[in-house]
């Protein structure tokens, strides 16, 4: 145990040091973004719960159902993100060579790595979960003890997916030690996806049907038919029972708290013994495989002339050879496809065209935010990822302007494919009004061009050449600034476009007189704003790289 605390405190020290060496602007923008997120999510949950609780008869039951679903989704998300990060933290981290050479027990290394992994995988979920819990407490007018106990439960809850993910990775590597990194992560995902699919099939979450019910009679029947998600055997149900119990001061809250605590500790102890049996051994095996040199054919095995092609091929190769990169992108894409197909039912719920048009605007905004997220995660780190080749690029006759522009056009092309694909399919499903259907792809073109510029430019302005993992680069202070800028860009664009959208709706559906000059003015404003957001960030990035000492 002593060596665990030694490793553990040294890790805490590193984190503290990296925070204290950040400059004031970065700390301030960091706090600002997190603060906005916390406040924003709190506000949304608070409004949602207030609305639900006011629904007659079934209000409380509905609210509990929403919470349960929320915690279940968190559980799946946590499992996913723990699996993605656990392979790199437990096996692919250079620090491990140092740690395993120290006279410390492998279980101590495991525990400190588990903590690190849990932190990286869970913080984003916690930023949403904590406001949810607080909003629930405020809505149900819970006592003071509710807040510390339920937030403590959240932290206990985090341990379960983190420990399970590590066990899953250990077991897969033990059973199939020949597997490549890529296959391990794929298998783990297959496993989780299968479980989720089974769960949804068996449980058939009927909660969405509420929108289709009309009369009070039907609502009552619906409320009576609502079943507990997972039938009481999944941790998400216990967690929501803890909240429910604590908010009304019933002993049920304490009971489920103890149950969660017990199960969480048991999972951790189980994972501890699995790690004791498997971790060190499998780490050694993996090390042997990575030094295995085999002949492979690829985009660069034969010579290509021309710097543009070479640079792009290099980027593509590195992307497809890094499982943490393309696996995460695939998950994003799968989730988006699921989202698009879920829109198929929109014309059934919303028969009135005005509502469908509003849904299509909401969908547009949502897709822009998704693209912003993708940009921060995949485009922002691309300059930082040049770190091991920066000496060759910096001393070569290839200018940073050219490098940035090559990357820019490549990523803009990718972004356009993604955003236009999403928009066209979602608008077909929503049955959007013809004119909007034609106009949106044009606007999306600018959104893609601006978001790529922002993330690439700030990626060049705030590169992190000392970090390997692209997720960690994106989660660093520079990445958060890029995220802030991207979100601000989307927000401002939507504000500018809200005017013509409103006027269009008012003219078409409410038969108000139209105000064309205002509509044109807004579009010109949007255009000018985008020229700025395309040119300036790229320039900032290029100038910063040209001035930088390597």
């Amino acid at each position: 145990m002593r060596d665990f605390f030694l490793i553990f405190t040294s890790r805490i020290n590193i984190i503290l040091k990296s925070i204290t060496t950040m400059n004031a602007v970065r700390i301030a923008s960091f706090i600002f973004v997190i603060g906005c997120f916390l406040a924003g999510s709190y506000y949304i949950f608070f409004r949602l719960f207030n609305y639900l609780i006011a629904v007659e008869i079934i209000g409380i039951a509905l609210m509990d159902r929403v919470i349960e679903m929320g915690f279940f989704v968190f559980f799946i998300m946590l499992l996913f993100s723990n699996i993605i990060t656990s392979f790199s933290t437990f096996y692919n981290d250079k620090e491990l060579y140092f740690l395993f050479a120290l006279p410390v027990r492998p279980t101590s290394i495991y525990l400190s790595k588990l903590f690190e992994n849990c932190l990286y995988a869970s913080w984003a979920t916690m930023v949403i979960a904590i406001p949810l819990v607080v909003a629930y407490g405020v809505t149900t007018e819970a006592g003071f003890l509710f807040y510390p106990l339920s937030i403590l439960s959240l932290f206990i809850y985090l341990i379960i997916p983190a420990a399970l993910a590590s066990v899953l990775i250990f077991v897969i590597l033990r059973l199939l030690p020949q597997l490549k990194t890529r296959d391990v992560i794929l298998l783990a995902f297959g496993f989780i996806l299968g479980l989720t699919f089974l769960y949804i099939k068996l449980n058939n979450p009927t909660i969405l049907k509420v929108f289709e019910t009309e009369s009070e009679q039907e609502l009552l029947r619906f409320a009576a038919n609502l079943t507990t998600v997972g039938g009481g055997y999944v941790p998400s149900t216990w967690l929501s029972n803890i909240l429910k119990g604590l908010s009304v001061n019933s002993s049920q809250g304490i009971f489920y708290f103890l149950l969660l605590f017990f199960v969480s500790m048991s999972t951790a102890i189980f994972a501890f013994f699995m790690a004791k049996a498997l971790y060190a051994q499998s780490w050694l095996l993996i090390g042997e495989h990575s030094s295995n040199l085999s002949k492979r054919k690829s985009l660069l095995t034969s010579f290509r002339s021309g710097s543009t092609k070479t640079l792009l091929f290099k980027d593509i190769l590195l992307f497809i050879r890094e499982p943490t990169q393309w696996v995460q992108l695939s998950i994003f894409v799968i989730l988006l496809v699921v989202y698009i197909f879920s829109l198929r039912r929109t014309p059934i719920y919303f028969t009135f065209p005005l509502w469908r048009t509003i849904v299509s605007f909401a969908n547009f905004a949502y897709i822009c935010f998704v693209l912003a997220t993708l940009g921060v995660r995949f485009i922002f780190p691309t300059i930082s990822l040049e770190k091991s080749g920066i000496w060759i690029i910096g001393s070569s006759p290839l200018s940073f302007r050219k490098i940035i522009m090559i990357k820019y056009f490549f990523y803009v092309l990718m972004a356009i494919i993604i955003i236009e694909g999403l928009l066209i399919f979602s608008n077909i499903f929503i049955k959007t009004d013809q004119r909007i259907y034609m106009l949106m792809p044009l606007i999306a073109f600018f959104v893609a061009a601006s978001l790529v510029s922002i993330n690439l430019g700030f990626g060049g302005r705030f590169p992190q050449f000392d970090v390997d993992n692209p997720s960690k680069i994106a989660a660093g202070s520079g990445g958060i600034i890029a995220a802030l800028m991207s979100i601000a860009y989307v927000g401002i664009s939507i504000l500018i476009l809200a005017t013509p959208a409103y006027h269009y709706l008012a003219t078409t559906y409410l038969h108000r007189p139209s105000n064309y000059p205002l509509i044109y003015l807004s579009f010109i404003g949007f255009f000018v704003f985008n020229i700025f957001t395309i040119v300036v960030p790229l320039r900032i990035g290029i100038k910063a790289l040209e001035k930088r000492d390597f």
């Binding site: 095995t301 640079l311 190769l317 001393s395 290839l398």
Partner: protein, 247 residues
């Protein structure tokens, strides 16, 4: 025309001068070896010439091209190998070499033949098609040497070329340097290995605490210091400068 002209070069990190008032001129066909203890400013000097660092003052002119006014043109004349030649860990050695040739816009003509020759000379084995994450330091050195010779620069800058090489490879490297010199290339090499300097240098520089203490050939060097053995000369010169800096 001189291959390299450095005038009053200065570089500061924070408040400490890493390089102070450096002046140097190198002709085609010269091998310049820069000696100095750890932290003397050797790597900084090389990076300033390679364009990876920006000087605070002074000029670097390569083949008559001012690196400030025309950095890319100047960079196309040089080849640089750092002391720790990192390679993208998920590229193979061969892919890395092709990548560099691509960004230097190397001509296609006898590329494959030249590469095969270089592989043979440096004893590059089947490992060249494995990911570079599994390479030893010496293997990486060989890869970057091949890369450098493929794009055929006029001025070659190498930081600690012998670290991690086995005796046979280091002999090959030595012979290659001599060959390059005979072809009229200019080499600028930083090292701690004194015997290496003695064997191949046509000009020697000794740097300490950012200041060039001496530039000349081996004979001039022994005349100044009154010693014959290069190790004694080196120790004497670098000791003096350390004493000087302690007020």
């Amino acid at each position: 025309m001189k291959t390299l002209v450095i005038k009053n070069l200065k570089k500061k990190f924070g408040t400490t001068w890493a390089v102070r008032n450096l002046n140097l001129e190198l002709e085609p066909g010269e091998i310049f070896v820069l000696l100095g203890p750890n932290g003397a400013g050797k790597t900084t000097t090389l990076k300033l010439i390679a364009g990876l660092l920006h000087p605070d003052e002074g000029d670097v002119v390569i083949n008559g091209i001012d690196t400030r006014k025309n950095p890319l043109e100047a960079k196309s004349r040089i080849g640089y190998i750092p002391d720790e030649p990192f390679i993208y860990s998920k590229l193979t050695g061969r892919e890395f070499i092709n990548f560099v040739a691509g960004i230097y816009n190397v001509k296609h003509d006898d590329y494959e033949k030249k590469m095969a020759e270089l592989f043979k000379r440096f004893g590059v084995g089947a490992w060249i098609d494995g990911f570079s994450e599994g390479y030893s330091h010496g293997m990486k050195q060989k890869v970057v040497m091949c890369q450098l010779l493929l794009h055929d620069p006029q001025l070659i800058l190498i930081d600690e070329p012998l670290v991690g090489l086995d005796p046979k490879s280091s002999k090959t490297v030595r012979e290659t340097f001599i060959e390059l010199k005979n072809q009229g290339k200019t080499l600028f090499i930083c090292t701690h290995t004194l015997s290496f300097a003695k064997d191949i240098a046509s000009k020697i520089g000794i740097i300490n605490v950012g200041e060039m203490k001496f530039i000349g050939n081996l004979d001039e060097l022994s005349k100044i210091s009154g010693k014959r053995d290069i190790e004694e000369i080196y120790l004497k010169l670098s000791e003096e400068s350390v004493n000087e800096t302690i007020p």
